[in-house]
Amino acid sequence: MNGSLAKAILARIWTALPVLFGVLIVTFVLIRALPGDPAIQYATSPNAGPAEIEAIRREMGLDRSVFEQFLIYLREIATGNFGNSMQTGRSVMSDFATRLPATLELAALAFFISIVVSLPLGIAAALWRNTWFDQLCRVMSSFAAAMPVFFFGLLLIYFFYFRWGIAAEPIGRWPSMIIPPDPITGFATIDALLMGDWELFRMAFGKLLMPAASMAIFAVAPLLRMMRGSMIDSLESDYVLAAKAFGISRTRVVLQYALPNAMLPVFATAGMVLSTMLGANVMIEKLFAWPGIGAYAVNSLIALDYAPVQAFVLIVAALFVVMTLVIDIVSAIVDPRYKLRG
């Protein structure tokens, strides 16, 4: 890595800071704009007495200026204190810690499925451009883009569970007749493997498949389109023409020259899709009664329990900013032509 690149990366990180700061301001305003008294939301139980609430109000600095309140808010966030959930009676932080693995596991498999489906199709559509296959991919990706994820999930449930009976019951993470094992990592499939229990792994994986497939549907269209477009640009480029002129075989031209150069925009799209997945999984988690952070946030929202909602919004947005930053930096390191937005 040379000096000018390091400088560009530092400059890029520097531009992400105001955005992160803005996100913090928005979530700060969010909890104060919400109906209800923030002190009550931070109270340990819904039936906390007036004396306790008064103490929390002083502790949170609600009797002080907005600016001081913001500083206190920053300190709380820095120490990982997101308040307490009225519904579970526990701190939001510990609720998130137990639920995050379920969400990550689901999103990871969904992401994997969408990559495995869309990239080969995108490459094939680019190689056989303007044939019936290309048209078919185009129609399929338009359908996938218009398909509401929760509707697609319900269609899967109907066919694979009700009709053909080959899928696991679409409720929760574990079959209802077994007692879930004590979490080691919190990832059901990894835990099962660590315990060396194949039967358990099969169950956990079976439960994951349908929600993951439903979630994958909305990532297929952007990935397929980007892969196709980028591959076409690459195939029409001068270096591919040159490679062909040297008499290199078509397979090698495609795999060694065209494809690696077409991957960069796809990589950027994939990163965006992955971070969107973490936020937009709300509907799927709700539909499949999946015990992740999305369902937790929306259930809290409906129960007017705002501390978890605020934490969810903050965490997802921060993740989004960091993800964009990482994609940008990795792109710049991998490809010297890439211009960092600074």
Binding site: I25, A33, P35, S142, A146, P148, A280, V298, V313
Partner: protein
């Protein structure tokens, strides 16, 4: 703006776009006259006709309260379309106006607005909509406002880019020399010339807005039962999918998917005409 000849050109070149345009017109008509042509009252329950499969009497079957699903699907079109149209118009008008100003004036105003929009874009759309509904309260008005706000950045960025690219052109200079005020230069010379990409965006956005409204209703935000709305109908039918009564979910789901599909096809078709380089 699109002239009649342009529209004919789109239709000739792009069959899918033409079909989508026709379907959208049909859906719009259904949305307007829906309540008058519905064979049954969409809210009247009939406990003797619960969960009947599609038949001559009930084209789309009945739900768990014996309500006619066909009537509910066509009455729901009005609410879903109205929310989407009002929200997208709001965000197109406000977003484009702020974007135009930002792109024309430049300087510190442009930098600050740019940062604000960056922050807005940091929130995934659906999560932002959820948070806004939490603040604004769980109502239809909140959904409209939330949808308008989350889509603002797209129009802001589009219009800003168009205007700053055109700011230095000869016709703008001529307009300034002729004594037009800044507002006149922006809104009578620059904005009309920058409209085509905004129109593409509006068509795509209408689809997303419908999807977003239905998604929020599905998780219990915004529109509340027993109002006929596609997302709510799908949510109410979700548990019946496991016991095999597919029609409760499938018909509102198809109506929803078809509307979104038509708007995105139309958007692609318009883009093909306006910007041949970005043909998908």
């Amino acid at each position: 703006m699109l002239s009649f000849a342009d529209i004919r050109f789109i239709l000739r070149r792009n069959l899918a776009g033409a079909v989508a345009a026709v379907l959208i017109v049909v859906l719009m008509i259904v949305a307007i006259i829906g309540p008058y042509i519905a064979p049954y009252d969409p809210l009247t329950t009939n406990l003797r006709e619960v969960l009947r499969p599609p038949s001559g009497a009930y084209w789309f079957g009945t739900d768990h309260l014996g309500r006619d699903i066909f009537s509910r699907v066509i009455v729901a079109a009005r609410l879903d379309f109205a929310i989407a149209i009002v929200a997208v118009s709001l965000s197109a008008i406000v977003g484009s106006a702020i974007g135009a100003l930002s792109g024309y004036v430049g300087g510190w105003l442009d930098r600050i607005l740019g940062r604000v929009v960056d922050v807005m874009m940091a929130f995934p759309l659906f999560v932002a909509a959820m948070a806004l509904v939490a603040v604004l309260g769980n109502s239809v008005e909140s959904i409209v406002l939330a949808t308008a706000i989350i889509n603002l950045p797209f129009y802001f960025r589009l219009m800003r880019a168009e205007i700053s690219a055109r700011r230095e052109t000869g016709y703008v200079e001529a307009a300034i020399i002729n004594g037009n005020s800044t507002a006149q230069v922006i809104f009578t010379f620059l904005v009309p010339n920058s409209l085509p990409p905004v129109i593409v965006q509006i068509s795509l956005n209408l689809g997303w807005a419908i999807l977003n409204t239905a998604g929020l209703a599905f998780i219990g935000l915004g529109v509340a039962p027993p109002t006929p709305e596609w997302g709510i109908m799908i949510q109410e039918g979700a548990s019946m999918m496991i016991s095999g009564q597919w029609w409760v979910v499938v018909f509102p789901g198809l109506a929803l998917a078809m509307s979104v599909f038509c708007f995105s096809l139309l958007g692609d078709a318009i883009r093909d005409v306006i910007d041949p380089r970005r043909r998908s």
